[in-house]
C-alpha cells in the first residue's frame, strides 16, 4: 500500500488553496486527486467575473482566478497532481481507493483534506409535480453545456430560484440569444448577491416573481410550459393566483448540497439536514486528521472565501501531520 503524508481530494478552488497552504506550512508530500482532466473544478465553467475581488483585489473571471492557483501548484515538487482520478472509497483510518483509466490505487494518508465541493438540488428534491420531459436542467449543467460544450440548452427559459447561479445563468442565456421569461422565487427577496440581481436580471428586464413557485411542469417530450402560483407567508399555494408561462426550458437553481458521501462512508458524523460534517471548528470533522474544506464543508457565496478558509485547512493538516511524529 502506498503511504503519503497528505492526500487532497478535489482540485478546485478549495483543494488548490489547501494544497498550496499545506506546502507553505512545511508538508513535503502532497497527492492532489482531481476527477476531471484539468485542475480548477467549477471555476473552469464560471466564465463570468466576480472572483478575486477580496483575495487578489482584482476583478477576475473564474478561469483567471483558478489559473492563479494552478500556476502556484504546477512545478511545486511537493505536490503530485493526479488527474482523471475519482476517489471511490475512504475509510476512517485514512485509506483511500481511487480509480483512473487503467488504474485502481489504494493510498494510506497521514492526513486527508476533502475538497469535493457540492452538487445542486434537483427538481425531484423540491417535489415539483408534472411530466418528465427533456428541457429541465440544473443551472450548473446548463452552465457547463453553454460554456464548455458550446451548446445552447434552450431558447425560452424559466429560472426556478433566484440564487446566484440562477441569476448568472439568466444573463448567460440572454447573451446567447435565448429569452429568459421569468425568475420564480419562493422567498420574498432574492437570495443572490445584489450585484447579480442588478447585472443579470435588471439589466435585461427579466421579470422576477417573488413569493411564487412552480405548481407543475408540462410538456410531453420537451418542456412546453410551467404553471406558476403565488404563495402566502406560510408558503401555502394561493390557487386563484395561478398562471402559465410557455417555455421550452426550466432551469433549476434551488440550492446546493455539500458532496459528503465519501466521508459519510468513512464514518464521519454528518448533519442529516444539510449534509455538512458536524463540527465545532471550521474545516474539522469528527475524525481527527480528516479535514473538509470549501463547499463540501459548508456552502460559500464567494470563491474568495473558499480559498481563504481552505488555506486554513492546509495549515491545520500540516499541524496535524507534525503532531503525529
Amino acid at each position: 500500500m502506498i503511504e503519503r503524508d497528505l492526500v487532497i481530494v478535489g482540485g478546485g478552488p478549495a483543494g488548490m488553496a489547501a494544497a498550496i497552504s499545506a506546502r507553505e506550512s512545511g508538508v513535503k508530500d502532497i497527492l492532489l486527486l482531481e476527477r476531471d482532466q484539468y485542475l480548477g473544478g467549477i471555476l473552469n465553467q464560471c466564465v463570468h467575473t466576480g472572483f478575486g475581488i477580496e483575495y487578489f483585489k482584482e476583478v477576475l473571471t473564474g478561469p483567471e482566478y483558478g489559473n492563479r492557483f494552478v500556476e502556484k501548484i504546477k512545478g511545486a515538487p511537493e505536490i503530485e497532481i493526479s488527474l482523471r482520478s475519482l476517489v471511490v472509497k475512504l475509510t476512517k483510518d485514512k485509506t483511500l481507493t481511487y480509480i483512473k483509466p487503467g488504474v485502481m490505487e489504494e493510498v494510506r494518508a497521514k492526513a486527508v483534506i476533502m475538497a469535493t465541493g457540492c452538487r445542486e438540488k434537483t427538481r425531484e428534491m423540491v417535489h415539483i409535480p408534472g411530466t418528465r420531459p427533456s428541457g429541465i436542467f440544473s443551472a450548473g449543467l446548463a452552465q457547463k453545456l453553454i460554456n464548455i460544450e458550446g451548446l445552447l440548452p434552450g431558447k425560452e427559459v424559466v429560472v426556478v430560484g433566484s440564487g446566484d447561479i440562477g441569476l448568472i445563468m439568466a444573463r448567460r442565456f440572454t447573451l446567447e440569444g435565448a429569452r429568459v421569461k421569468a425568475v420564480i422565487e419562493i422567498q420574498e427577496k432574492s437570495r443572490g448577491l445584489i450585484r447579480n440581481v442588478a447585472q443579470c436580471i435588471e439589466d435585461f428586464d427579466i421579470p422576477i416573481y417573488f413569493r411564487h413557485k412552480i405548481l407543475r411542469i408540462c410538456g410531453l417530450d420537451r418542456v412546453e410550459k410551467v404553471v406558476v402560483v403565488k404563495v402566502d407567508e406560510n408558503f401555502n399555494d394561493i390557487p386563484s393566483s395561478s398562471f402559465e408561462i410557455s417555455c421550452d426550458t426550466v432551469l433549476m437553481s434551488v440550492g446546493l448540497i455539500p458532496e459528503n458521501e465519501l466521508i459519510e462512508m468513512a464514518g464521519v458524523e454528518i448533519d442529516r439536514k444539510t449534509n455538512q460534517p458536524v463540527s465545532k471548528e471550521v474545516n474539522k470533522t469528527s475524525i481527527p486528521g480528516i479535514f473538509c474544506c470549501g463547499n463540501s464543508f459548508k456552502i460559500y457565496d464567494l470563491a474568495d472565501w473558499v480559498s481563504k478558509e481552505s488555506a486554513v485547512a492546509g495549515k491545520m493538516a500540516a499541524e496535524y501531520i507534525r503532531s503525529l511524529k
Binding site: R35, R84, L86, V88, K89, T97, I99, K100, P101, G102, V103, M104, R119, E120, T122, R123, E124, M125, H127, P129, G130, T131, R132, P133, S134, S138, G140, L141, K144, L145, I148, E149, G150, L151, L152, P153, G154, K155, R216, C218, L220, D221, R222, D248, E261
Partner: protein, 480 residues
C-alpha cells in the same frame, strides 16, 4: 423478399418475451416498436415485481400464467444473466376482519398453485419485518415473490432474441394493416418506416393494443389508461424493509405498496387513477400526499424527505383479465392485450401460450439446431466488489474511466450499452443506471452526450432524452 413468419407489434416485456421464445424455432421473426428504443412504453414504468400469484381470481388466465411465469422467470434470469432476487411478499392485516380476508386470499392462491404460503403473526413480523407498523396484526407471507430490473430484463430478452435471429425495428409505427383475408395470403403492414409482409401478427402493443386490433377489424375490447405514480426513496434506506409489503387489495388495485427494487432504492406507490390520455405521464402533489400517507400506514418511519425521484406509468387496462386469443375473424392475428399486473411475471408464460396459439393455427414450429440459451452477463461496477472492479480495470482500462460518479458507471459500460442498442440518454440510463443517482445527471450528462456523439456519429443537437421531440439542446455554436 420472403415474408416474415411472425411480426410482433410492440417491444416491451411481452413483445420481447414472445420474440425470445419464438427465436428457438426456424422462423423469420421481427419486432416493430414505435418508440426510439424498446421498453419505452408501458414497460419502463414497471415496478419490477415478480409476483407469487396471490390476489388473482381462481380461474383467471392471469393467475395461472403468473404462477407459471414466476417459475419460468427464475430459470430464464439465470440463462440471460440478470439478477433475480427472491425477497418474499407480505400482505398485511390490521384487524380481525382483515385477517379473515387473508385466509381467503391464501385459499384462492393455493388453488392457483402458489407454493409455500403461510399466515404469520405479530411475533414473526416483529423479528422479520421490524419496521412494519406495530398495528399490523398478521400477514400472508408468500416467499416466492421476487424483484428484477424490468427494463434491463426487456433489453436482455431482446438481445438474446436478436442473437438468435430476431430482427428489431425501432422508431417503426404501424399505421395500417391489410388482413390476410384481403390479400389472399399474408398480412401487409404499413409503417412509418415502410412496408412489411407477415404470415402471422402478434399484437403486444400495450396501451395501443386496441388501436392496432381495430386495424384488422377486431374492436370488441377497449384499452383504458390507468395512471400510477411511484416514488423512489434514497438508496440509504435500502433495508427499511426485507419483503415486499402489500396492503389488502381494493376492488381494482393492489393498493399502495412499499417495495424493494432490484437496484436498491425502496419504492412506494402506485396510485391508481383512470385517465383519458394514453401519453400524459404527469405526477401530482395529491398523488404524492396519498402515496406517502398510505406508505406510512404500512411503514411509519418513511418520510417525505426520503423521496429522491418519482415518475408515473400508465397501465393498459382492459377492464378484465388478459386478452390472449387468436382472432378467428382475422386469421393469423393474435391479440395479447390488457396485460396489466402481473404482466411482467406472466411474460414468459404468455410467450409459451402465444407460441402454442400460433402452432394451433397453422404455424409449424421446427426447433433450431443451434439456439443460444445464454446471454453473457455484462459487468456493472455498481454491484460488484472493488476487488472485482480492479480486475476489470486491468483487463480493460476504460472500466477505470468513471462517467457517472453517483452510480459509479464507467465509460466502458456506456459504450457497451450503446453497442447493445442504446440510442438515447434514457436508453443509457435504463441499461447502466447513469443519470439515476443523486445528482440526476447534472455531472454526467455532458460526457454521456459526447460518448453518444463519438459512438453513433449523432450531432449534439440530435441527441435526445427518449426519441424525436425530446432533444437535449437546441443549438450548437459550431453550426452558427
Amino acid at each position: 423478399m420472403k415474408p416474415y413468419d411472425v411480426i410482433i407489434i410492440g417491444g416491451g416485456v411481452i413483445g420481447t418475451s414472445i420474440a425470445r421464445e419464438l427465436s428457438r424455432y426456424k422462423l423469420k421473426v421481427a419486432i416493430l416498436e414505435k418508440e426510439e428504443e424498446l421498453a419505452f412504453g408501458v414497460s419502463k414504468s414497471n415496478s419490477g415485481i415478480i409476483h407469487p400469484g396471490t390476489q388473482n381470481p381462481i380461474h383467471s388466465l392471469r393467475g395461472r400464467l403468473c404462477v407459471q411465469g414466476n417459475a419460468l422467470t427464475r430459470k430464464m434470469s439465470r440463462e440471460l444473466g440478470i439478477d433475480f432476487k427472491e425477497v418474499g411478499e407480505l400482505i398485511v392485516a390490521f384487524n380481525e376482519e382483515d385477517r379473515l380476508k387473508l385466509v381467503q386470499l391464501k385459499d384462492e392462491a393455493e388453488a392457483l398453485g402458489v407454493p409455500r404460503l403461510k399466515i404469520v403473526d405479530r411475533a414473526w413480523l416483529k423479528i422479520n419485518e421490524p419496521n412494519l407498523s406495530p398495528e399490523v396484526i398478521a400477514a400472508l407471507y408468500a416467499p416466492t415473490a421476487g424483484i428484477i430490473s424490468p427494463y434491463r430484463w426487456v433489453y436482455d430478452l431482446a438481445e438474446n432474441a436478436e442473437s438468435n435471429g430476431v430482427e428489431i425495428h425501432a422508431s417503426t409505427k404501424v399505421e395500417k394493416i391489410l388482413p390476410s383475408t384481403r390479400t389472399g395470403g399474408d398480412f401487409e403492414i404499413y409503417t412509418s418506416k415502410g412496408g412489411f409482409r407477415s404470415r402471422y401478427i402478434v399484437n403486444a402493443a400495450g396501451l395501443f393494443a386496441d388501436d392496432i386490433s381495430r386495424l384488422v377489424g377486431i374492436d370488441d375490447f377497449k384499452i383504458r389508461a390507468r395512471l400510477g405514480e411511484e416514488f423512489l426513496l434514497d438508496k440509504k434506506k435500502e433495508n427499511i424493509t426485507n419483503h415486499l409489503i402489500f396492503p389488502l387489495p381494493s376492488k381494482d388495485s393492489k393498493g399502495v405498496l412499499v417495495i424493494k427494487t432490484s437496484d436498491g432504492n425502496p419504492m412506494i406507490g402506485p396510485t391508481a387513477q383512470d385517465v383519458d390520455s394514453k401519453t400524459d405521464l404527469s405526477t401530482s402533489a395529491e398523488g404524492f400526499k396519498k402515496v406517502l400517507s398510505s406508505a406510512q400506514r404500512l411503514v411509519p418511519s418513511i418520510n417525505g424527505g426520503d423521496v429522491i425521484a418519482y415518475f408515473a406509468g400508465l397501465r393498459p387496462a382492459s377492464g378484465g383479465d388478459f386478452i390472449i386469443r387468436h382472432e378467428a375473424k382475422a386469421p393469423g392475428f393474435i391479440n395479447v392485450a390488457g396485460i396489466q399486473s402481473p404482466g411482467l411475471t406472466a411474460a414468459p408464460a404468455i410467450a409459451l401460450m402465444v407460441s402454442g396459439l400460433l402452432k394451433k393455427n397453422g404455424l409449424s414450429l421446427k426447433r433450431k439446431l443451434f439456439f443460444h440459451h445464454h446471454r453473457k452477463r455484462e459487468a456493472h461496477l455498481f454491484n460488484i466488489p472493488l476487488s472485482e472492479t480492479k480486475r476489470l480495470i486491468k483487463r480493460d482500462p476504460c472500466y477505470g474511466d468513471i462517467v457517472c460518479r453517483c452510480e459509479m458507471v464507467s465509460a466502458k459500460e456506456v459504450t457497451d450499452a450503446i453497442k447493445r442498442g442504446a440510442k438515447t440518454l434514457d436508453g443509457i440510463k435504463f441499461r447502466t443506471r447513469a443519470q439515476s443517482g443523486r445528482c440526476h445527471g447534472s455531472f454526467c450528462t455532458t460526457r454521456l452526450m459526447k460518448i453518444l456523439e463519438e459512438e453513433t456519429g449523432k450531432k449534439p443537437t440530435d441527441i435526445t432524452k427518449r426519441g424525436k421531440g425530446s432533444e437535449i439542446v437546441k443549438e450548437d455554436r459550431l453550426c452558427d
